[in-house]
Symmetry: C2
Subunit: 208 residues, 2 copies
DNA sequence: ATTCTCCGCTACCGATCAGTATCGTTTGAC
DNA sequence: GTCAAACGATACTGATCGGTAGCGGAGAAT
């Protein structure tokens, strides 16, 4: 029961844990969690297998830690992005710009939360819980921005934008043929603009 | 090289192949392709392992056949759906209604093409080729509808709607709290309505 | 009725999987 | 300088992986 407490550990312990988690995260993201074996993480990180299992009781726990790490880094960047704008629309545009650039980075391979969720059928899997909380948090934040911007039904508009973002995350290079930031911004502006009017549709011009 | 030709086979051969592929497809979709072993497919389908490998040289080929089957069934339903409407906007609304209902079906677990793509890092994997072609086909069809509906930049608007759809596919139950068909229809109408005007933004009202 | 094809079955292959045991060594804390 | 804690290394477990070999039997074609 002398399990290594996460708080106040040996500096060696901290470093080993960090290196293992960082290596695992890179491998998991680049290859998919099921395709990466524990031995591979051992070899690439230089951390002994026994040490990894001292910090993470199972591979599933390591995967869960991977997603929590991705989650934290994602919101950290998110906060930095929206910090560059003062208006709601400006924040949404900044987010679109960020995402549009993010999805065309080298080695980008989709949303890690969605990718992992696709690999595990069990909705009660700890990693799937993290993924659901991550997506709920995104909706919550988008809803707050929409509400602050005067959107009539902020939760609905926020969900529409969230779907747009998730689609962009999973676009697998298809957006590279476009100006992704502009495409996303244009779409988001339309969704928010439409959300400021009464949502009982109607008024939209009919098409042939 | 007396490989079983796909055309004009024994009825026994046809049935074995069909049962193997159907069982594999169900298992692959429900659990993820890497989580399903060949032995499991053998047990659940009643088709011998040797027979499966006579029809599909590798597991990867079986996965590829699974995605091609999903692709064919998807477009079959798609055609039936858009056949119920006469106008472009009517077709888009019908598609939104179809997708909104589809994603809340029991056992729905996201887009099989995106799910499989998430499991293989190699972009040259045969299954990833099928997935890319599937998404390209969706964009092509949406673009045709948009163009016919008088949208100024049909390929851009089609991409925006495609992202919306993919987001809905991967929404993992988050849409169950909403009227998914209405939410998608509303979003699609806004995207198309905005696409009919000059796309050099501007005009959209500024938010606080 | 014979033949030829394809089936299902059992057993097996080497490789890899997640996870554990043991042990000697390093290292921060006091 | 001593001690306890956490490290790295090696070796191993039983299970499972994708894929193959060899068999006997069923069924369609002639």
């Amino acid at each position: 029961m002398t399990a290594s407490s996460p708080d106040r550990p040996d500096p060696r312990s901290r470093r080993a844990r960090l290196r293992a988690l960082e290596t695992a995260s890179d491998l998991f993201y680049a290859n998919g969690v099921r395709a990466v074996g524990m031995e591979q993480i051992v070899e690439e990180s230089g951390v002994a297998k026994t040490t990894i299992y001292r910090h993470f009781p199972t591979k599933d726990a390591l995967i869960e830690a991977f997603l929590k790490k991705e989650d934290a880094e994602f919101w950290s960047q998110w906060d930095a992005v929206i910090g560059t704008a003062t208006t709601s629309m400006g924040q949404i545009e900044a987010l679109c710009d960020w995402i549009g650039k993010r999805v065309r980075r080298n080695g980008y391979r989709g949303c890690p939360q969605l990718n992992v969720a696709a690999e595990f059928a069990d909705r009660a899997h700890p990693a799937r819980l993290v993924a659901r909380q991550h997506k709920a948090e995104m909706h919550r934040r988008l809803e707050a921005i929409c509400a602050h911007g005067g959107v009539v039904h902020p939760e609905t508009t926020a969900m529409q934008i969230a779907l747009l973002f998730d689609g962009a995350f999973m676009s697998d290079g298809r957006l590279n043929a476009y100006d992704a930031p502009a495409l996303l911004e244009h779409a988001a502006v339309l969704l928010i603009g439409g959300g400021r009017e009464r949502p009982d549709k109607g008024a939209s011009a009919e098409l042939a």
